[in-house]
């Protein structure tokens, strides 16, 4: 799915423009501490040598128990709506969200899976090729937190080891406050570290942290895609010896022609 091209649509809305690297939620459970894009990535974006990355989308899979609010979280982010009525997701659903990250168009394809056991056999067919796995749980229901490990295990089984960013997301933050919230978060952070996941608390109802969270997801996925693309192309260059196609960071300034060639190089 990652190799699929996206149509170049209208410009993305202003709140989907990510210029600086979005920060983590808590330093106690985060995937990386950097506050800026990787040097190579920034350079590639500046010089427009991100290859086909701008035409691709990253696959994000959201898993977790039923009624924790996976669909609500996605709908809050993609449509900025919140529905109080619960409606079980049938099998899977998806949304495509377009970003502009460091000047490069980038899209997330967010797969919303059913939490009901009876749909597991359908939803699990959609786990494959995920760049990001979001395991969601209900902050007010400790059992749903305990189940996240199983959900993650199922999702990871369909993907290559170490190929996915993992997020642990506590939902319904608006229902907790003060000590109860701290307690729930502490437990979640503890588990997140075991899962090698980044932890976030969100509320789809109030919208708290929802945009920041998905921006973080998008930026991490984007950066990884650019780095992988650069690496792939440099290894291709070494094999094929076709050095003209690629301009790496630190290469002599490019002419418009060579820039054009490299941006089309992998189409």
């Amino acid at each position: 799915m990652r190799s699929s091209l996206m149509p170049l649509g209208p410009p993305v809305s202003r709140d989907r423009v990510i210029a600086s690297f979005p920060k983590w939620y808590t330093p106690d459970a985060c995937l990386q501490f950097k506050e800026h894009f990787h040097g190579q990535v920034s350079a590639a974006c500046q010089h427009r040598t991100t290859g086909t990355v701008g035409l691709k989308f990253s696959k994000v899979v959201v898993v977790g128990d039923l009624y924790v609010g996976k669909t609500s979280l996605i709908h809050r982010f993609c449509k900025n709506v919140f529905n109080h009525d619960y409606k079980a997701t049938i099998g899977v659903d998806f949304e495509i969200e377009r970003f502009e990250i460091a000047g490069i168009p980038y899209s997330l394809q967010i797969w919303d899976t059913a939490g009901q056991e009876k749909f597991k056999c359908i939803a699990s067919a959609y786990y494959r090729g995920a760049q990001v796995i979001i395991t969601a749980f209900d902050l007010t229901d400790v059992q749903t937190l305990e189940h996240t490990r199983q959900w993650l295990e199922d999702a990871l089984r369909e993907n290559e080891v170490g190929s996915c960013f993992i997020f642990l997301v506590g939902t319904k933050k608006d229902l907790l406050s003060g000590a109860a919230c701290e307690q729930a978060e502490a437990e979640a952070v503890h588990l997140a570290n075991k899962m090698q996941a980044e932890y976030w608390s969100v509320s789809a109802k109030t919208g708290e942290n929802v945009k920041a969270f998905f921006s973080r997801v998008a930026a991490l996925a984007f950066e990884q895609s650019v780095l992988q693309d650069l690496e792939r192309r440099s290894s291709t260059r070494l094999q094929v010896g076709d050095g003209d196609l690629i301009r790496m960071e630190g290469s002599p300034p490019e002419t418009p022609e060579s820039r054009k060639a490299s941006s089309l190089g992998c189409c």
Binding site: L5, P10, P105, Y126, R128
Partner: protein, 211 residues
């Protein structure tokens, strides 16, 4: 020839019975042959023995008497066999009835449902919400929905391009790429080709299985 003395012994009994039973020994000949008992056969023997004796000691009568006794013996055997068979069948029927009642008592009280064992469910065919579609059918519907949704997103974006003036109304979709600053100018032919590729890729996008 053994019969007559036997009958004579019974004579007293029969006469006693005769007082109670209006029909008497003669009435037994009016019975349905399927309801005959061995007792009835003996009654018939008695009646016929008496009549034969009344005919005197003509040797022809004696000869006929042998044959009649033989026929009555055959009738007795048949009736005897029939009643034994009927009794056996009656017993078997009663046993089966008891067995059925026992099984009915064991079955769950709810509507007398049949116990299907584990991993089985009973479907109420009159329930409008009963399960009736297969998993594969649901998969197919979902795939089709996903495909249509991706097409809808594509169309919505294109519509937005027209609305925002990114693509002038008279220009075809194949040329819209040239307006985008991020894409290098290409000839209309290759641009069209690229558009087709994108659409084809989006159309072929299903369930993420191909990644």
């Amino acid at each position: 020839m053994e019969e007559p003395p036997l009958r004579e012994e019974e004579e007293e009994e029969e006469e006693e019975d005769g007082e109670a039973e209006e029909e008497g020994p003669e009435g037994v000949l009016g019975k349905s042959p399927f309801q005959l008992t061995t007792e009835d056969v003996y009654d018939i023997s008695y009646v016929m023995g008496r009549e034969l004796m009344a005919l005197g000691s003509d040797p022809r009568v004696t000869q006929l008497q042998f044959k009649i006794v033989r026929v009555l013996e055959m009738l007795e055997a048949l009736v005897n066999e029939g009643s034994l068979t009927a009794e056996a069948l009656r017993m078997e029927r009663d046993n089966l009835r008891q067995e059925v009642e026992g099984l009915r008592r064991q079955a769950p009280p709810a509507g007398g449902e049949v116990n299907l064992g584990p991993d089985k469910i009973v479907v109420d065919l009159t329930d409008p919400n009963r399960p009736r579609f297969t998993l594969q059918e649901l998969r197919d519907v979902l795939q089709e929905r996903n495909k249509l949704k991706s097409q809808l997103l594509l169309v919505q974006e294109e519509l937005q391009c027209y609305k925002s003036g990114l693509i002038p109304p008279r220009e075809g979709p194949g040329r819209r790429r040239e307006k985008n600053p991020l894409v290098t100018r290409t000839s209309p032919a290759s641009s069209n080709k690229e558009e087709k590729t994108i659409i084809r890729k989006l159309f072929s996008f299903r369930s993420g299985k191909q990644t």
